[in-house]
């Protein structure tokens, strides 16, 4: 509940932003929401499930490409539709995750640093593959992807302006965040945390860690796929960088900086880092990346729980102990 309070507070604050911000910044905020959603997907699988995926953009990219080809009408018998595209994107990402996961986790399974390297390599290979897949635009990617279209049946309701787009995205991301917030507090959430802290113990209670891992991996992939799908409607452009390694590592940095073990901290980590990048890269120019690299190192060493999660958790702890004392 307290966790949800933070979520509601954060989103309430976000909701008033477009009223004060310029069009440009509202447009930026739209991207931040999607990055935040993407960060949530990684926080779920890594922070809660303990599966360090170094190639989370694989699923973001799959979502992006599936959305692109589907709304551009390139899957000829399948009608081009916004809603259908979103569902296809989520399903494709989850299906790929199921395939990959059952291969990687089965048996003794690959985990820890090995999994990190393997997923990183997959992201690299896929980026390379997409760059050379000329039917899907190759290196140049796919252009002119339709924007958000709320229309049903044959009516079109395309959203081109950043403010209405903001509120649509805001609603989607808010709902998913609340759902995830509820999920991690549910029994499944306990299982996830158990999986992270002591996977071996779970087997001796008759659980199959593989099943739990697969579930969370697919769910996280579906959310990442959704983020990717929304991204291309906003950007109008799907390129191999969306599936690749750079974005994979960027999301990792956002989530680690914010705090992987707390959904809202991961979400804010993405927004804060992007925001800082927007400001500071103007201020510091090429030095920004250098600063980010150092900041990241320092934060990993000194605040392994994350720069945003650490104060939030300290606050929650004080809050709890006050309540108990009272």
């Amino acid at each position: 509940m307290k966790n949800n309070l933070f979520i509601i507070f954060t989103f309430a604050l976000l909701a008033v932003m477009p009223l004060i911000l310029s069009d440009y910044w509202t447009g930026q905020l739209n991207y931040y929401l999607i990055y935040g959603l993407f960060a949530l997907s990684l926080s779920l699988v890594w922070g809660y499930g303990g599966i360090l995926c170094f190639g989370q953009a694989i699923f973001f990219g799959i979502g992006a490409y599936v959305m692109a080809v589907s709304t551009k009408g390139m899957l000829s018998p399948v009608p081009a539709n916004f809603y259908l595209g979103l569902s296809l994107a989520c399903m494709a990402a989850a299906a790929f995750a199921a395939l990959l996961g059952s291969f990687l986790f089965a048996g003794k399974g690959i985990n820890g640093p090995y999994l990190a390297i393997i997923t990183l390599a997959i992201a690299m290979v896929l980026e390379r593959l997409m760059s050379n897949w000329y039917a899907l635009g190759g290196y140049n990617g796919l252009l002119d992807i339709p924007p958000i279209n709320l229309g049903l049946f044959s009516y079109d309701l395309e959203i081109w302006d950043s403010r209405p787009a903001f509120y649509i995205l805001w609603s989607i991301v808010f709902c998913i965040t609340l759902l995830l917030g509820w999920l991690v507090k549910s029994d499944f959430g306990s299982l996830l945390i158990a999986l992270r802290t002591n996977p071996e113990r779970l087997t001796y209670f008759g659980f199959s860690p593989l099943q739990i891992k697969l579930k969370v991996f697919c769910l996280s992939a579906a959310i990442a796929g959704l983020a990717g799908a929304l991204f291309v409607t906003l950007d109008g452009f799907a390129s191999p960088t969306l599936i690749g390694f750079t974005l994979s590592t960027e999301v990792l940095i956002w989530v680690a900086l914010g705090g992987k073990e707390l959904l809202i901290a991961a979400f804010l980590g993405a927004i804060a880092t992007r925001l800082a990048e927007n400001w500071l890269s103007e201020l510091f120019g090429d030095y920004w990346l250098l600063i980010l690299g150092f900041l990241f190192m320092v934060s990993v060493v000194l605040f392994p729980k994350g720069l945003i999660a650490t104060p939030i958790q300290a606050f929650l702890k004080r809050f709890n102990s006050n309540k108990n004392a009272a």
Binding site: N198, R201, G206
Partner: protein, 244 residues
């Protein structure tokens, strides 16, 4: 045929036979202890029963079903609950969540053992006042009890307890012995305890098997075992006879 039958079980590690042609029968609803010096193969025996290790030779039969070729998950689903020597709980979950967790399995056991309500479990293990604390915040003794609590909520048909009093103070040890006795008595649960500490065994007051070099050396009640010279020599060395 008994409830749990272990027949000519053998497991080697390199040249060392950790468990060597061991035979053991456990009746349903019984409380049994296995004692023996460090390194006699007690923990290996438990690892074989719960599927952490595979036997080289031999069979393990629980209520007519062979366990020796099952995975650890299947064995647990078939009703084997195991407590580890070093308490193995979920540090990042609260005590309640820890206790609740084993019940979350969708496919329940083929047939279940005796069960306890959460209230009963909390009372038995004296953890009610720590319900909402994280596992990592508990003391060592409380962690040991929490793990026992988790196993009760799993409602297994056989409970394996591996040195449940390791690292406990004398009074905690006595309370643990009483806890185990009441688990066995209240619900007629089948309990198998491995222990090193003879004081604890005396308080348990149950049938005993003495294990040495991977096999059972002697069986009997506490007094018989206590006065057996072979057992004394095993435990205390050759000089052991000086206080007989």
């Amino acid at each position: 045929m008994s409830f749990l039958d272990i027949i000519s079980l053998t497991r080697r590690f390199g040249g060392l036979k950790a468990v060597d042609n061991l035979n053991l029968s456990i009746e349903e609803g019984s409380l049994t202890a296995i004692i023996g010096p460090n390194g006699c193969g007690k923990s290996t025996l438990f690892n074989l029963i719960c599927g952490a290790l595979k036997p080289d030779i031999g069979t393990i039969i629980l209520d007519g079903v062979h366990l020796e070729n099952m995975t650890a998950t299947e064995i647990a689903r078939h009703g084997v609950g195991r407590k580890f020597q070093v308490p193995s709980i979920f540090d990042d979950l609260t005590v309640m969540q820890n206790i609740h967790l084993p019940t979350l399995r969708k496919s329940r056991f083929a047939s279940e053992g005796p069960s306890w309500t959460v209230q009963q479990i909390l009372e038995l293990t004296k953890l009610a006042h720590r319900k909402y604390d994280l596992g990592s915040e508990l003391s060592h003794g409380e962690k040991q009890w929490l793990e026992i609590a988790m196993i009760l909520s799993q409602s297994p048909r056989v409970i394996l307890l591996d040195e449940p009093t390791a690292g406990m103070s004398l009074s905690e040890t006595e309370q643990t012995a009483d806890l185990i006795k009441s688990i066995n008595a209240n619900n007629n649960a089948t309990v198998l305890v491995i222990e090193h500490d003879i004081g604890f065994i005396e308080r348990l007051n149950c049938p005993l098997h003495v294990m040495s070099s991977g096999t059972l050396l002697k069986s009997g009640n506490f007094l018989e075992i206590r006065q057996d010279t072979e057992v004394q020599e095993l435990y205390f060395g050759k000089a052991g006879d000086f206080h007989a």
